[in-house]
Symmetry: C5
Subunit: 351 residues, 5 copies
Amino acid sequence: MLKYLKKMRKKRGFPPGSLNELEISKLRSEATLIHYDNDTVEMTSLTDLADVSFPKSGVNWLQIKGLADIDMIKKVADIFHFHPLLVEDIFNSDQRSRLEEFNEGIVVFLKHFQLESQKDQLESEQLTIALVNNVVITFQDSRKNIFQILEERIQKNKGRIRKMAADYLFYALIDIIIDDCFIVLGMIDDLIEDLESELIKNPQSETLQKIYHLKREIIVLRRSVWHLRELVVALNRDQNEFMTDSTQVYLKDIYDHAIQIVDIVETFRDMISNMLEMYLTSISNKMNEVMKTLTIFAAIFIPLTFLAGVYGMNFRFLPELEWKWSYPLWWFITILIGISMIFYFKKKKWF
Amino acid sequence: MLKYLKKMRKKRGFPPGSLNELEISKLRSEATLIHYDNDTVEMTSLTDLADVSFPKSGVNWLQIKGLADIDMIKKVADIFHFHPLLVEDIFNSDQRSRLEEFNEGIVVFLKHFQLESQKDQLESEQLTIALVNNVVITFQDSRKNIFQILEERIQKNKGRIRKMAADYLFYALIDIIIDDCFIVLGMIDDLIEDLESELIKNPQSETLQKIYHLKREIIVLRRSVWHLRELVVALNRDQNEFMTDSTQVYLKDIYDHAIQIVDIVETFRDMISNMLEMYLTSISNKMNEVMKTLTIFAAIFIPLTFLAGVYGMNFRFLPELEWKWSYPLWWFITILIGISMIFYFKKKKWF
Amino acid sequence: MLKYLKKMRKKRGFPPGSLNELEISKLRSEATLIHYDNDTVEMTSLTDLADVSFPKSGVNWLQIKGLADIDMIKKVADIFHFHPLLVEDIFNSDQRSRLEEFNEGIVVFLKHFQLESQKDQLESEQLTIALVNNVVITFQDSRKNIFQILEERIQKNKGRIRKMAADYLFYALIDIIIDDCFIVLGMIDDLIEDLESELIKNPQSETLQKIYHLKREIIVLRRSVWHLRELVVALNRDQNEFMTDSTQVYLKDIYDHAIQIVDIVETFRDMISNMLEMYLTSISNKMNEVMKTLTIFAAIFIPLTFLAGVYGMNFRFLPELEWKWSYPLWWFITILIGISMIFYFKKKKWF
Amino acid sequence: MLKYLKKMRKKRGFPPGSLNELEISKLRSEATLIHYDNDTVEMTSLTDLADVSFPKSGVNWLQIKGLADIDMIKKVADIFHFHPLLVEDIFNSDQRSRLEEFNEGIVVFLKHFQLESQKDQLESEQLTIALVNNVVITFQDSRKNIFQILEERIQKNKGRIRKMAADYLFYALIDIIIDDCFIVLGMIDDLIEDLESELIKNPQSETLQKIYHLKREIIVLRRSVWHLRELVVALNRDQNEFMTDSTQVYLKDIYDHAIQIVDIVETFRDMISNMLEMYLTSISNKMNEVMKTLTIFAAIFIPLTFLAGVYGMNFRFLPELEWKWSYPLWWFITILIGISMIFYFKKKKWF
Amino acid sequence: MLKYLKKMRKKRGFPPGSLNELEISKLRSEATLIHYDNDTVEMTSLTDLADVSFPKSGVNWLQIKGLADIDMIKKVADIFHFHPLLVEDIFNSDQRSRLEEFNEGIVVFLKHFQLESQKDQLESEQLTIALVNNVVITFQDSRKNIFQILEERIQKNKGRIRKMAADYLFYALIDIIIDDCFIVLGMIDDLIEDLESELIKNPQSETLQKIYHLKREIIVLRRSVWHLRELVVALNRDQNEFMTDSTQVYLKDIYDHAIQIVDIVETFRDMISNMLEMYLTSISNKMNEVMKTLTIFAAIFIPLTFLAGVYGMNFRFLPELEWKWSYPLWWFITILIGISMIFYFKKKKWF
């Protein structure tokens, strides 16, 4: 969140659609073009986008990794007639997940989530995926091979991807991002389970810190995921124009997945609230325990100490002091009082 | 929840509609065909689905129990023109309850709930029910005879089932699953009542554990049940196409039941929140009780012990020590202080 | 709630619309027909419904009290062409309040609420009211004279009821049930006020029990009342068909009442939450009070007891013991410490 | 709330639209007719409404103060063709704020709020304002001069009121009631501010009582204000029929005010919840403070008292008692323990 | 909030649209006209608005700073045919953010937020921006150069502003206000982060005050921001009439920003609730800690003090006193009891 806000603060007053240098990535841009149809696959590393031609038949997948080379991205934008504001949004790494339509195609802004397993830190990277005619363009500001598994499926002709049009590729890319979302949710689920068993067995103040931290992550994740759902709903609503009939049924599938993700995140939220309540109640329970222990000790020994104090007094005329059996008698009374106290607390079910 | 997430994690990157082996059940598939009309009932155990014919008249009910035999399920899918994604969803045991339409028929994915009475553990099994023309197909991944009572009704010609078309059978199957949902709710209701009386009579820390556990189950159940409601709403909306007029009135009936289930689950949720509040408040009350006990003991005996300490001092010139009546006088003052303390706390309504 | 769930549990698998004997009331059915128009009123006790004729002119009100005589109810259902599922719902005593339309008329299922003043126990009874042409039929499973006041109005020709059609009678019946709902709300309001003054004057643990109990009742009542509102909304929406124009304005009146009931119940809910918060806070306040008392006593006397202990030591060389004024000096110091302690706590506003 | 419920309880079973005597005000009715146009103003006290004529030109404002004279109100109702149910609602002093249309005009039921500054008690009075052709009728059950300022504006021809039609007067009346609502909100705002500063400076248990009381008032006010908003929305929606074009822009203005009122009340609600949380947390903080004080005293003096007790023992063979420097040594150790304890708690930041 | 309410209180009963003197600013009005087209920029300070002419070509931006000069504002209103109510709203400094359309143009009322970094005090100023044909008018009641950066862009011909029509200027003004909103959110984000680290490291009662204060600001900000969102939605809906096609895409951009602002504020709210919970729980944790310390001290030394008291008694026949090894034995037993106590609490994980 902070990241985005900091950027906005520096951006103030710049003309809209201007590419303020502060936002620009340090990572050198690399462009790769994958062209395939049912029979052939061709993968080309592009250095200059000026003389690239996109064959009209088959599917073209243009991958841009790293966003430092503004000219290259502007070149792509020119070729496919992107609006300047849309170009600005590609660089803006904290876009809300959403779908934008323009004359010739559609663009989606998506977040790819990852959970750093060491630090339990949720990290997100913005991906921009555009579909224009038979060309799919993906922008990302890292070298991560998020879509490697899809490249392999294209290379090895697994599944139906080689037989389908560009809109199927567009769908398949979104599908992978959603699948990765499930992986993150699975990891959070593990975290929740660990925390739950920690909570039941041995709650400590670090447990609270962890729950608090997790809740914070889920607050952020939740908003993100709601926008993802809206994106997918929009994609299903606008299916007729840019999506072929055969792909539409797959869009319904990711719609189902998106709803499931929202569901799971909501359930996580409920569970964590549940855990916090549980934690608070268990603290109260423990405090009760502590108080009871104190009260039992105090209530038993304070009267007895008083009784010992009585016969420690130095009055000259204190007849009991002279009696022969007063000491054993004193012990007898003392123990009697002690035992009856214990019975009293037992009856009150204090231990 | 976890189960589904684990599957998704392993599935990452597989082409959509592919049957990843990891998901496949170990339970050998068994197919049974029940054909009936007003006059005859015929039940056949099928070993090979290749040469099965489904009579055009009467109703055909094809039961598939166990999902290990992928070829058999694929065969069924081929016969009735299921989409590959739909086939994938049959194997996917953690689908959200929903209704899918395709050209020739409709499919519902439903959860059959059971409450293991020993462990108070809510268990769910996915059922897939398809209706294509005069054929109803049910898929389940266990040998449980969930629909046995319906088979009997068909065999013994009870009610109107033998007189009605396939869509009535489709309805009757859903009706049974919803009836079983009420049974689960009934058992949860018993649990809540037990917990409530436990809470009022003798709240313990295990009571809290139980409430917490129950709340967690209801969080999961609630989402499930909302989707069930949506399914039933969709079924009522789409009634015109695949449902005959005479069955539509029955669909309204299960609509009412689905709403009632949602209502009951929401009420359960409110009640459990109510119980948790009650528990927390009763802990505070108890702590108050404990603190009062401690304070009363301490406030009575600490001053008295001080008084005893005074006359235990060894000052050479301590005139009271020499007086004749100082010991009885001391007792008199001590008891007076004690009694006035008791009166003070009585007045403050501390006991 | 439990009642309904228990029934559902036993009903499992019975064909829909079948009248499972378990649900059937033990109360012998009694049928009464009141026929009236502007000039005449006629009241007939019916023993056999076979040869009853309902005059086409005027209004017919058929009252069925007690639901044990299934044949009689089935007879009524036959005469007015009720669907079997509708007949089942008449017997089913825990229907959600709702409106059902069929070809020739409309049926409403309503709950009549009563608050047992002794036990503060909310009780509800299901009423079914049907309107078919100029006949209004009421079903109830008790001998309570809920509508007696209406019978009197008809007998004595009070208000406009004798001048109006059957739909006005239909309205008037619902109006009485809603009026009774206000009576229940009034009693709950009294309970809330009592609890509030109890809470402010002298909160006890039974107060908590009462609040908890009341909250539980309101959770149940609230759901019921929402459905009532929906029923009345549906009645206003569907007014054109079965309701004459002159009755429609009255329907708007009960619509206003239904909204008011929902409003009041929501306000009750807020108030009870408010009370629970208040209770919890007052417990915390009291605990604070108790702790302060303890701390003041302990902080004053523990140092003094220590001081007494010092001069109770038996060291041979303890010079103060020999001084002449050490005992009065000791008292002086002791009292000084005590008083300064008291000032310290006074300054801290602890008492 | 109670007031309304009590009335409903007594009303049970009366024919709808009947004027049950119990509801009728004790306050003698007074009728005043103000007729004005751009040039003239005329104010007449009416004793008998039988032969009143309402000039067709200009604007007529008929004020009815006090509702005891049923015949007079019925007379008005007859002249303007009010429905009996509408007449009933005029007497019913706890109507929900709403708008009713009838053939010839519209009626609004509104609540006029006042905050008794002495008792901090929110009081409301129902006002009924009807608009029929060029006549505006206001009903109120008190002698309060709520609209005096408007009468003056008419008399002195301030603003545009004399130039406008009856619908502008209708608007101006509602506007004054809404303005008074802002005054009440302003007073509540002062109360909240006082409570907040009281909360921060010196929270006491009366502070809690006040917050609780205020929250209760706002619960009631909130519902009222929501209905006011609905009324104003309805007025804007139905503007075309009874409202002239020139008045419509003013209706938008009160629409804005109504939304602002709802906003402010919602903000008040949030603030009071905030204050309650704050109060609870500050109690916990204080309790913590008290407990720390107790613990510090106890932890310092209890070990020292023990040490004094040791050398108060009367063992014959207790070598330290005979040593020459044991008493100063004992003091040295005692003070050392005391100081190290103080350091320990300092380090733990307990004081 | 208070400010607005105070004004309303004084305004009561004034004719709508009247400019009650109490509301009027003390700040002398200054008018500046900036006229520009693609080639020229002209900036004129206006003293008398009577003979101002607005060129029909190019864009005119009329800035009014300070609202003391009612005649000048009325003059502007006359030129552009503003409704009197609209003029009133310009002076009214606590308008809800909203969009108003009139025959010839549109007006937006907006809040410009600033966070006083010294006092952490959220401050808002109302801005009114009107668009009529090729004229944009901005009203503000301060001398702040909110739009200076835009003036520079016009002067220096940066971005596309000089090439676009007046509606683009209208958009650019709103865009700057929204950008400033992000700056405020960024500062609040910093505050939240500071508070969070303070909370984790060393929570104090001032931390609570700060959280409470921040929550209050966000309650106010939240309402404001929701209205901003509605304004922007309305602007997108009504785009066709007053907005050229080329500006519409920019309106979608500020729509996205407005949604993001609402999102961020909602997330802030969740985070602060989260922090309050965290604070409360950490207080409970600490109290637990304190109680344990007390209990450990008391439970160890109270029995030992009792034991010392026993042998401080002065009974004549107390055999242990005479034994030779009773003193070392006593120490042995005492230390044994002490150590076993410590082990007991260690086992209970109390320290």
